[in-house]
Symmetry: C2
Subunit: 188 residues, 2 copies
Amino acid sequence: MRYSEDHKAKTHQRIIDEAARLFRRDGIGATGLQPLMKTLGLTHGGFYAHFKSKDQLVETALAHTAEQLKASTDEIFANDAPLPTFIRRYLSSAHCANPGDGCPLPTMSSELGLRGQASEITDQVVRDRLQAIEGSLDTEEAEAQSIMMISAMVGALVLARSVSDPQLSQHLLKTVRQQLLEQVESAS
Amino acid sequence: MRYSEDHKAKTHQRIIDEAARLFRRDGIGATGLQPLMKTLGLTHGGFYAHFKSKDQLVETALAHTAEQLKASTDEIFANDAPLPTFIRRYLSSAHCANPGDGCPLPTMSSELGLRGQASEITDQVVRDRLQAIEGSLDTEEAEAQSIMMISAMVGALVLARSVSDPQLSQHLLKTVRQQLLEQVESAS
DNA sequence: TGTACATCAGTGAACGCGCGTTCACTGATGTAC
DNA sequence: TGTACATCAGTGAACGCGCGTTCACTGATGTAC
């Protein structure tokens, strides 16, 4: 069957989008190409009309996630007083409950650390975020503070997702959220 | 071949120790029973003389890790001014470089979150740590501060292990270490 | 003390399964004449 | 306008591989007589 001109490009993008979701939600290793393609209503053989290998998809999907992340971060930081918004969103129950649509840092640490080329994308994500936060802090020690904030946010999300007690999970999120917001307020 | 009386118990423990290491280093899913047993100089079939299934090993190994962790934490917190020691050890280059011998929280978040029974062990690990830190803080807001500290430490380790640039990695660790140590000093 | 037997931790081939990957094939549509 | 052909995204069976698990077997040692 021959399709319309942009059909292949659309399918290509659908694969990337779904992969970016599943890699973050379930991990790279636990995401099979067969289930991935089935989710899109396709068969697994067709995958190789779009990508050379799973590894190539991983890199593409990671790059796509990084781009998306930068765009949404930049959007937040284009406004006034962006830091409280960023903190509230990052440490929201929604972000905690939907790792597939969120930040890849808390979920993919172990798998990212091992990959050579792909983990350079991680470096850029971390540096971009640090710069954005640092830029909106007027204090001395802005750099150290931005590192502390990012670390606390990533750690809080990791912990909130790891524990099985929902109350403990929410308590961790809420506490770090409030502490960081206070810190931002007192700094301005 | 029949072995000495405590031979089986020793092998049993060797399996648990190695599994606890590999689960933290490579993840549960990525750790195969065949390579695990081979590392111990055994064949894979013998595994089932010791455990009913891989799942049972996972639970046993996780419980063992939690116990070990509690023991080493308690040891640190039995001394005077334990917090600086704990912070320095947790955010050391050695801990960062050897996930297999360290805290399971930064590496196993995604895999732990999905497991029912096993993730209750995680709850206990988190609560134990919080209590230990909280107890050695004399300030008001000791609870909130201990949550912030744990989050920052876990997040810093996750980030330091995720990035590919060693300098960035060390910088993240060092900055969070110094910030937390200052915070502890100023609180006492 | 010497011999026959029981024990059972560990062996290694085999099982079904899902993985990533390959490949001969399909068939609706665009193009050539 | 009608027909023959080329295209190529997607199909689905098949590949080797490592996984978790099963099972008939081994053979050094302890026990019974």
